[in-house]
Symmetry: C2
Subunit: 414 residues, 2 copies
């Protein structure tokens, strides 16, 4: 399954939008065993589209196009495809009925342009688009599949998931393929690799292990090819069950889990509440927690104590602590975590104080020195991070680490 | 100036990273009067690179390549270019000295691979890369310019800004071109267009106006082509001076300004301090404010009062207010803004309370109902937003609006 992805439209060529469609399609196709041979972004000019189609269909088994299916004049993908196949148009009453119904539901009326949208190349198999007006089109000529989809990301994704990927898998049967992702936090990829070296060296030939690091998190992805889907899934499950105990305190989730969601779920299950006391992260940890819908069930709030007077006044940090150790110190984050827990009357308090950068460091506390703490009243755990000079990266990295400490505290694996 | 952009490397084809280089390059090139004819992402295979170069140099005046210049085996861009030009290699002592110096400064040693990196195609003009090891390469044969740069974004950007763009402008003299961006917040693009319709209709033919909306902000970009650069710059300055007074209360900045930076600068200049009281934004406004390095000069902190007990306990919201009007009400945000100002002893307090979604609405307070307020002690201003159902978009949109209200309050244009 060799695939070429073509993105049509001037928005990308003038740098107005970033092409996130192609990367998403590439990910999905890779997971289904396809190889992306190339990607092209082109203008919505007739020659460009036809020329690129001619070249791409020679190099790839599958050509996926997005964009240029709207009702306006500059949307000429359909005409270009018809020209490429030297075919005419036929009116699709089914599509027209669907568009009429779609607009009726929105309480809006259609225009003549929408009727025009319903003329389709004669050799097109229409793919029903339940989230927009323009249907997808599937062509299968001379051994090559060409698929045209709208450029609107959620319409493209809908069509890929419900229509295109299932058909491709049927049309180009590949070896059964499967994946497992293990989400970890707390150690870098080289240290993890060292810990599971034996496991990795003994992996069967049909299984590959990839390390995907980002901001203090490392995803481990096991990808396998087999002859029998069920056996392959079982093989992967067995491997996951084998490796996870070797790094169990690092593993916070699987597949698309994120740390703020996992921690939230854990707090909810245990009926625990959380508050944050933030200095250098400036509210970012609270933002991540509350980016989860339903977080009000366990999150009561945060005191962003950017100024030392707030650390003293609302969090109860001792003036003597600040004078002796400074705000960026173990003693300070300890008092902050304990203080916010009391002040907001929660089961758990977390705290952060550091120098996010890019400036503000001193010889003994360079930029990137960040202390974090979590407390449940009985136990208060602290940790020092020594990061780089990039402010936003430091903030995100720290947020991941401190949320993981909450998880470890709740689970008793701190 | 017709440009083709080629991105080399498997990271993009397997969907591991999003290609943000191409969009940035496209933006810069467009601003310099170039037209992007197409973009290609290809693997680091010899045939792919040579074939794409052959095609692109036929279609474009300028071909820009990124990626594949590193010291590892799969980085074969240089070899492919040499094959394309049918030329040999020559050792660049200058480059080698620079790499040695670069590593010395980092306290690291070079490997044989770094020496290999210094063999360059004979017809390459080297572009000095002061932020990495691999230099850029400039080729100019048969009327077409080919430029190869590293794929690391900050290295590519350094080379584009300091070496490539200045040379392109000299090599392909275009009509003088210039731009001005006006940053607005508070009204949508169609309302702004209505207000400045006369201005827009009377624009000289050499000037174009574009509206670039995002999350409640609208950038107005005036682009002009002229015969004399100085006269064109003056013409644009005059047009900006003409249009800004027509929408003055909406204009918060120019060019790359952002609202959190502009508000911060304003507070710093006036010696004012700020605190935030956040419910549904969950700390995001505090995060935006503190994303600016140096914000501790004017930002004292935030109380994220996700739970009503925190609104009462720390912000002094009356139990009667919550009982009678609920947390999502004008009365509540008014008391929150006044309360946080007192509690954190700042000149200005801002507050937000609403239903960020996607669930949690009621018939009279549907999802997206969000109240915001700002107070300076003498004056408290409130506003109601009625947004959609997308949680993160609502949070970002609200953040922009409430920061703009702080600006308006300080300037007395509320």
């Amino acid at each position: 399954m060799n695939v070429h992805i073509i993105t049509i439209g001037d928005e990308i060529l003038i740098g107005q939008i970033t092409d996130t469609n192609s990367v998403w399609m590439a990910q999905q196709l890779n997971l289904h065993g396809a190889r992306i041979q190339g990607m092209s972004s082109i203008s919505d000019g007739m020659e460009d589209i036809v020329g690129t189609l001619e070249r791409a269909t020679k190099q790839a088994d599958i050509v996926l196009l997005t964009g240029g299916l709207g009702p306006t004049k500059d949307d000429i993908t359909k005409k270009a495809i018809a020209k490429f196949y030297e075919t005419g148009f036929v009116f699709s009453q089914e599509t027209y009925d669907r568009i009429l119904h779609f607009f009726e539901r929105l309480g809006r009326t259609t225009t003549e342009a929408h009727r025009e949208q319903c003329f389709m190349p004669q050799n097109a198999n229409l793919l029903t688009n339940k989230v927009g007006t323009a249907p997808g089109m599937w062509f299968d000529e001379n051994g090559t599949v060409v698929v045209s989809m709208p450029g609107v990301p959620y319409e493209m994704k809908y069509l890929m998931e419900h229509e295109v990927l299932p058909r491709l898998v049927e049309r180009f049967p590949v070896q059964p393929i499967a994946h497992r992702t293990i989400q970890t936090i707390g150690e870098g990829e080289s240290r993890i690799a060292k810990r599971i070296a034996t496991f990795e060296n003994n992996l069967p030939e049909n299984i590959k292990l990839a390390y995907l690091p980002s901001l203090g998190k490392v995803r481990l992805r096991l990808s396998g090819m087999g002859t029998n889907q069920e056996a392959l899934e079982q093989q992967l499950d067995d491997l996951v069950a084998e490796v996870v105990p070797q790094i169990s305190e690092l593993v916070f989730g699987y597949e698309r889990d994120n740390i703020e969601g996992v921690v939230g779920q854990l707090l909810k299950e245990r009926g625990l509440t959380l508050a944050t006391a933030e200095s250098c992260t400036g509210g970012f940890v609270a933002h991540k927690i509350t980016s989860i819908s339903g977080s009000s069930a366990y999150f009561k709030g945060s005191i962003v104590a950017y100024d030392n007077s707030v650390k003293e006044g609302l969090l109860g940090v001792q003036a003597a602590t600040l004078a002796e150790y400074g705000a960026v110190s173990e003693a300070c984050v300890r008092e902050m975590a304990i203080g916010v827990r009391k002040q907001l009357k929660t089961d758990i308090g977390l705290s952060i104080s550091g120098i996010a950068g890019p400036t503000g460091g001193t010889p003994d506390k360079p930029v990137g020195t960040i202390w974090i703490a979590v407390s449940n009243g009985e136990q208060t755990v602290t940790r020092k991070l020594q990061l780089g000079k990039k402010r936003l990266l430091n903030i995100e990295y720290t947020s991941n680490q401190v949320l993981n400490m909450v998880r470890q505290l709740v689970l008793g694996v701190v």
